[in-house]
Amino acid sequence: MIDINESVMQFLLAFVVVGPLLGAVAALLPAPPGLKGKSPGQAVLRHGVTVTGAILIAAIVLALGFDSDHPSKMQATTDISWIPALDVRIHLGIDGISLPLLVLTALLTFLCALYSYFKPPAGGSPKAFVALLLLLESGTLATFAVLDLLLFFLAFETVLIPMYFLIVRWGGEGRTRAAWKFILFTLLGSVVMLLGLLLIGIKAGTFDMVALATDNGRPLTASVQVIAVLAIGIGLAVKAPMWPLHSWLPEAHTAAPTVGSVLLAGVLLKMGTYGFVRILLPIAPHGFHTFAPYLAAFAVVGIIYGSLACLALAKRGAKGDLKRLIAYSSVGHMGFVLLGIATMTPTGVNGALFANIAHGLITGLLFFLVGGLKDRTGTTDLDALAEETGAALYGKAPRLGGLLAFAAVASLGLPGLAGFWGEMLALFGAFEPAAGLSRPAFLTFMAIGAFGTLLTAAYMLIVVRRVCMGGADQEVPELADVHGYEFAAWTPLVALTVGAGLWPRALLGLTDPAVHQLLAGGTR
């Protein structure tokens, strides 16, 4: 949009990746004089807000300086040799696919830091919290910005340790088990993924994603592609998560602190789907072609399974946990994303990328709201909240209730909000999958997926019915309504959900040319 010097852009991108890392180290050091604040805890939480804020500003400037007339072109690229022995290059760059994810990550982390500043997480020291949050941000941002397979793996692994500690130190009930499940599942997946990445790198002679994508799988034999896609796909599918490899997700979400849940759902899951689009589609198209129908099948099973699990949790007397319910709904939503990718068509992949962002915004908001609810009522158990008639949030805290209803309705895919377009495009893609994929099979998947949207609507409306509505009980004290800082943290998400719903072109205009190019043969 605005013209920014290329070397400034390069610097900004490098800063976005490295800045949080330096910030994390700085967070561990004692505060310099003059920045001590009221207490050490407050000072370090403020440090977190400052650093994530600076990163967000850098990311926004990056987005403004991004040449949106050529979103398929890699921009702000840096390419320096780091480990010649392994042929690892620090190759950074952004295009229309990675830019939205980069901004989303910077935004969500900033909102989390802001939220934690006013509502410090109970548990360990704020110092460690901020350091881990920043390390996590660095890893996620790096995942979306790097263009080297081994660097991608490094970034992919970087998020494990901070997320583990966030859950285990600041989490709720069952956190130890949940944290172990999270880290062991993801690590097993990603080590298998490493084998696939190495196979590609060794057989093709380079780890550079751009070069590999331009080759479009030509230097790789069919069997290499099939093995590599299987290995990498497993790693990414654990992260995404794809049914039946999702079982770590509900536990991790239930146990994680609010901020951890927001980042886990909003950003970490996207690393998996991003990998599918960025690595598998262009680099091993033949291998992906082989597995696409299976991926699509697993995806729709995930959609139905996630919805049914949510319906079961939302039932009266099921002792359903709201956070667990949203986690299962994530499994369903990510199913749509995977279905879109599996169609291997521009429509489907665009839909997948859109749904990715939409899910990040909406589910991030939902977890924030449920976290807020838990702070007020002390529970996320649906039965305990709703009791006999319903929690009557509309009556007790009308703004909170309204926001929750808004997020739920956005999540079920109401047209005009962000959740709608991605899932619709993914289903559209399945209506006419890429040449060579079985159309009847994908039509079936589309039908099942469409049925899944109905189920999603059903359980979301049940949740709204049980949490927001209900008999107004005069004796029950009113709950505190939305605080100022909560407004500050949540409003951007609401605004973007509405914005992306009303003007999807802003996002699709960025992704569409890049997707076309990825599918046709690499990035220039």
Binding site: A85, L86, L199
Partner: protein
């Protein structure tokens, strides 16, 4: 051969510069032993610092050799039949051995001071330096006899080191266990060497390699048996399964710095010997030792990691036990590229992965042992549960230990650990050893569990009265040195990984 003029082969000119690193260590060892007789009790501490300086000097003497083309004790230069060669492989391993011994010596300075009554200082330093001299000689040896002699020079003092504590039953028992099993392994090795000699008629590795390709059909079985038996002695030193059973008890029984020494230098001796005999001497038998080492690697890492997993945090000496078992697991990773060399077109590149991994492992494992030595000073039982809340009392030490453990696990922020594992994986994938890579992948996940469990414990709130550990200067130096190495390598992994890209011989 026999037509060579006798005088020329007998009167050899010695390249003193080339042999300086092991020689200095040996000379200083003798000097310390003699000086011990004349020094008054109060000034025995000097011996420690003399030894540290000697090791540092020996390591410095590697600098003039950096071009890597020296060899000495040659019978015939034309066929490269030399007993001692200082090529790049030798230099890297010598650096690893001498550096490792130096760090172990730094740990020992404090340990001896704390344990004054029970450990005789002069003998201790003599034994440590002699063993280091042997270990530094081994990678340079290019004939089977020198190789076995170096192996023995490195091992025999180690037995004594393990059992050096007066009146410690556990210590003597560990030494005996270590001694008996090690001697058996060396004897088997020696028999293998004799078989190989019988079938080829030479001891020089390069000549063995040439002659093994066209030996008599009748001698084929003999040579094959010889190759396998020779490997046994070195596999024992590497602590590969099934030669690993001595490790946990020996590590617990030995003084902690000696355990650290064995875990790094002992292993370096084992795997550099293995590399020399497999890749240099027996390349034509790759179809025999390749699969054998692959199976050995898979077994070793699995047994080691499962053993480490089973350690209970509250059991006495569980920290050292865990490090011992984990070192068995790590030995498995070290063997993977050597096994891959049996399949690969370019075995040198695969070997480089082992060397790179060993360098990373040496730095961070010694770091972990240094912190264990620190905690062991105030908590003699050295249980893993004693590390709970270390961050509250010694934040920097706790952060460094966490870093070392994550490097061993191979997860960021331990970047160097991650990339060292990547090179090992890539050697396996490159050689088509997919199954071994998958076994290793599962092992990495198992290993993460116990490493991370320990790491997480460091940051938990301390139980009871937290006792701040006082850190003496030599320990500080050791922890700082390994810490700086680990962090520097994480920023610039190329420093060690470059060995994985180029030929070392």
């Amino acid at each position: 051969m026999s037509s060579q003029p006798l005088a020329e082969s007998l009167v050899q000119s010695v390249d003193w510069l080339a042999v300086a690193p092991p020689l200095i260590a040996a000379v200083v060892a003798l000097a310390v032993l003699v000086a011990d007789l004349f020094l008054p009790e109060a000034r025995k501490a000097v011996l420690g610092w003399v030894s540290v300086a000697g090791l540092a000097l020996a390591a410095l003497m590697l600098l003039p050799l950096l071009d890597g083309h020296r060899s000495t004790f040659c019978v015939d230069r034309a066929t490269r039949a030399c007993s001692y060669t200082a090529d790049h492989f030798t230099l890297v391993i010598q650096f690893l051995v001498l550096g490792g011994a130096l760090l172990a010596a730094l740990l020992s300075v404090t340990n001896l001071k704390d344990d004054e009554q029970r450990v005789p200082a002069g003998e201790f330093w003599f034994l440590l330096l002699s063993s280091a001299a042997g270990a530094a000689l081994l990678p340079a040896s290019r004939d089977l006899a020198t190789l076995i002699v170096a192996l023995e020079v490195a091992s025999l003092p180690a037995f004594a080191l393990v059992g050096i504590r007066h009146g410690d039953k556990r210590s003597s028992e560990a030494a005996l266990k270590f001694f008996l099993s090690s001697v058996t392994a060396t004897a088997v090795s020696l028999m293998g060497v004799s078989f190989v000699y019988a079938s080829t008629g030479t001891l020089y590795l390069t000549q063995v390699a040439q002659r093994l390709t066209h030996i008599d059909g009748q001698l084929h079985t003999l040579a094959q048996t010889g190759v396998v038996l020779t490997l046994v002695g070195f596999a024992f030193k590497t602590a590969a399964v099934p030669f690993h059973f001595w490790v946990p008890d020996t590590y617990v029984g030995a003084p902690l710095p000696v355990a650290a020494y064995l875990s790094v230098v002992g292993k370096a001796v084992g795997f550099s010997g293995l590399i020399l005999v497999t890749v240099v001497a027996f390349p034509s038998y790759a179809d025999v030792w390749g699969p054998a080492l692959a199976v050995l690697a898979a077994l070793t890492m699995t047994v080691g990691n499962v053993g480490a997993l089973r350690q209970q945090a509250t059991r006495a000496y569980s920290a050292v036990r865990l490090l011992a078992w984990s070192s068995v697991g790590q030995a498995g990773y070290l063997l993977v590229p050597i096994a891959a060399a049996g399949y690969a077109e370019d075995p040198q590149k695969a070997i480089g992965s082992t060397v790179a991994y060993a360098l990373m492992y040496a730095a961070v494992n010694l770091g972990a042992f240094a912190v264990a030595a620190l905690v062991g000073r105030s908590r003699a039982l050295n249980r893993i549960s004693d590390y709970r809340g270390l961050y509250a009392t010694n934040p920097l030490t706790a952060l460094l230990l966490a870093f070392f453990l994550l490097c061993l696990a191979g997860l960021p922020p331990g970047v160097i650990g991650l990339f060292a594992k990547v090179t090992v994986f890539s050697a396996a994938v490159d050689a088509g050893l997919g199954w071994l890579a998958v076994v290793m992948a599962v092992n990495v996940v198992i290993a993460l569990f116990y490493y991370l469990q320990w790491t997480a414990l460091l940051f938990r709130a301390p139980e009871g009265e937290p006792a701040r550990h006082h850190v003496p200067a030599p320990l500080t130096a050791a922890i700082a040195l390994t810490g700086v190495l680990g962090v520097a390598l994480s920023g610039a992994p190329q420093l060690v990984l470059r060995f994985a890209a180029t030929g070392l011989f």
